[in-house]
């Protein structure tokens, strides 16, 4: 029987950091991910807000730390069920293998909102409509495009939207768009950029300063109004329609490229496991016992949760949360 102190499901930033911390406490950890590589959604981004640091460097750092005898890494492993039996946790994968541990940490994270669901924006239909994730490949140079003359960013795609069942704010998109407009301006200095928003929520340290720089140093235009629809033109561009709400007038703009700022939903894995154990909120994220006092615990003894499987978080927040979860798990193991 494979027995560990803890099984961590999900080897994204939260899982990696929690594994590293527990390993430092000399705990035996099994780190599982359904993907073929570690890093989870960190792999989708090239550089990180607000300081443009490299996501790959961060990932290298994290992977170096888990490269020790206390951590067993299993990739390409899709956990389909979690059960508790006599104070032991069992995780079974799609091949029927079962893993055993004293504790379990859910770090299954988020999924990027599927922009196809906002039909009126034409993602997957009009080739110049892309998502913020697609844009990272352009910014990193992996995909090259011709210099666009006008680019529009659309905030809140799949967030704050009853139509797609997501009433929540994904909180990271505002600052992510600001980061991306600056990077795009650095790549294409002559491109005009318009960013359509409802509210700009610059909640983190130095975010507001970055927003200010995007206006002051890069001349990015911000328009307060939610884009209603995107349609094609004769010359293969797209037209956006919004209201300039501060002027109380409709506004239209033709763009060569539109970037949809896709939000963060509970990942498929988070939803499946949360449902199975009956520990999720109505929005699909896993519910902790108390967001103030016991934010790593769930209502099930020995089952813990960390990172964006709970709610939308930035990467630094995720890291801190993972350390917190690891400390709590270690304390729990000490009491046994």
């Amino acid at each position: 029987m494979n027995t560990f102190d803890s099984i961590i499901i999900g080897a994204g930033p939260a899982g990696l950091k929690a594994a590293d911390t527990l390993a430092n406490f000399n705990r035996k950890v099994l780190l599982i991910d359904t993907d073929a590589k570690i890093g989870g959604k960190l792999n989708l981004w090239d550089r990180l807000f607000p300081d443009f640091s490299s996501s790959q460097e961060l990932l290298n750092q994290l992977s170096k730390n888990i490269n020790n005898e206390n951590v067993t890494l299993k990739l390409n492993t899709n956990i389909i069920s979690i059960k508790n039996n006599d104070n032991h946790w069992m995780a079974t994968d799609s091949n029927g293998n079962t893993f055993y541990a004293t504790t379990m940490i859910i770090a299954t994270g988020f999924d990027v909102f599927d922009a196809h669901r906002k039909e009126e924006y034409g993602y997957g239909i009009y080739k110049n409509v892309i998502t913020s994730v697609d844009l990272e490949k352009i910014l990193s140079g992996e995909v090259s495009i011709e210099t666009p003359s006008k680019v529009a960013f659309i905030q809140c795609v799949g967030s704050r939207d009853e139509k797609v069942g997501n009433n929540f704010c994904s909180k990271n998109c505002c600052i992510c768009a600001v980061k991306q407009t600056i990077e795009l301006k650095e790549k294409f200095p002559l491109t005009d950029i318009y960013c359509f928003y409802m509210d700009l929520r610059m909640f983190g340290q130095s975010y507001e300063e970055l927003y200010r720089r995007s206006q002051q140093d890069y001349g990015v235009n911000f328009v307060r109004g939610r884009v209603s629809e995107i349609s094609p033109t004769m010359d293969n561009k797209v037209v956006l329609k919004a209201e300039d709400t501060l002027l109380s007038r409709p506004l239209k703009l033709t763009a060569d490229l539109v970037v949809l700022m896709v939000g963060m939903e509970a990942s498929k894995g988070t939803k499946i496991l949360g449902n199975q154990l009956n520990i999720n909120n109505t929005d699909g994220f896993v519910k902790s016992t108390d967001r103030y006092l016991s934010d790593s615990e769930t209502t099930l003894k020995g089952l813990f949760v960390t990172g964006t499987s709970k709610r939308q978080m930035s990467i630094p927040e995720t890291m801190n949360d993972a350390v917190n979860a690891a400390v709590i798990v270690n304390n729990f193991l000490n009491t046994l």
Binding site: E120, C156, R160, D161, E162, K163, M198, R224, G225, R226, V227, S228, E229, K241, A242, E243, D244, T245, S248, R249, P250, L251
Partner: protein, 234 residues
């Protein structure tokens, strides 16, 4: 009950009011594609905001203004609203209250309700249809063009070519709706408040017409039907 409470009570009593508006976040997605917002000084987002702010004086001004009469009821706003609201339906409720309180005669666009009631309203209770070739008069509708004029002139002998049974009491297009059905429609209007609304529109229009030393008659109808200050899109 004082006027202010009456306005709020009337809004609250309409089932559609609660369907139409809850917690608007002022994103402007409705105004972005609103056919009225482009060609009139009209902003459905701003109307939702005024109503949800709940300042009764401002709502009263709105009910007396041209603003609420600009909407074309296409309901495109409903498709997009991220809060599931329907500004176009809110307009329906505001117009209803404006008519019940007689505020509609305070604005040029509101006064037009008299013409609509006289034309469409009377059609319904006389012909059983909102629109009928007999009342699409070419002189009132120059935009219908020469072909319409031709059809109207020759309708009795041309309509049968299209399978229509113009003015006949049998199944088919353009038939005469039988007297029993018309009677039933009229009784429905009597019991369900339809006649009451017609009477209200006529009563307040009569009052307004007297301010112009007129009766609410054909001349007043043509006045409200054609009056245009030209100030509606500025």
């Amino acid at each position: 009950m004082d006027k202010k409470n009456l306005i709020l009570k009337k809004l609250d009593e309409d089932v559609r009011f609660h369907e139409a508006l809850s917690a608007c976040m002022n994103c402007g997605i409705c105004t972005a594609i609103c056919p009225a917002a482009e060609f009139y000084k009209y902003d459905p987002r701003a109307i939702c905001n005024i109503v949800q702010m709940g300042n009764v004086d401002e709502i009263e001004d709105l009910l007396k203004s041209d603003t609420i009469w600009y909407c074309g009821q296409c309901m495109s706003c409903k498709t997009r609203c991220p809060r599931g609201n329907t500004p176009g339906m809110l307009i329906t409720v505001l117009r209803k209250v404006s008519q019940e309180l007689g505020y509609f005669t305070e604005s040029e666009k509101g006064r037009q309700q008299f013409a609509i009631e006289q034309i469409v309203g009377k059609n319904i209770v006389n012909f059983g249809y909102c629109v009928h070739p007999d009342i699409v008069e070419p002189f009132m509708h120059p935009e219908q063009g020469p072909v319409w004029k031709w059809f109207r002139k020759n309708i009795e002998s041309v309509a049968p070519r299209f399978g229509a049974v113009y003015h006949q009491e049998k199944a088919g297009a353009l038939r005469k709706v039988d007297d029993n059905s018309i009677d039933e429609i009229r009784r429905i209007f009597e019991v369900s408040g339809g006649n009451e609304l017609f009477d209200t529109i006529e009563k307040f229009s009569e009052q307004k017409a007297s301010e112009y030393h007129q009766n609410a008659d054909h001349d007043y109808l043509m006045k409200v039907y054609t009056d245009n200050s030209g100030e509606h899109s500025k």
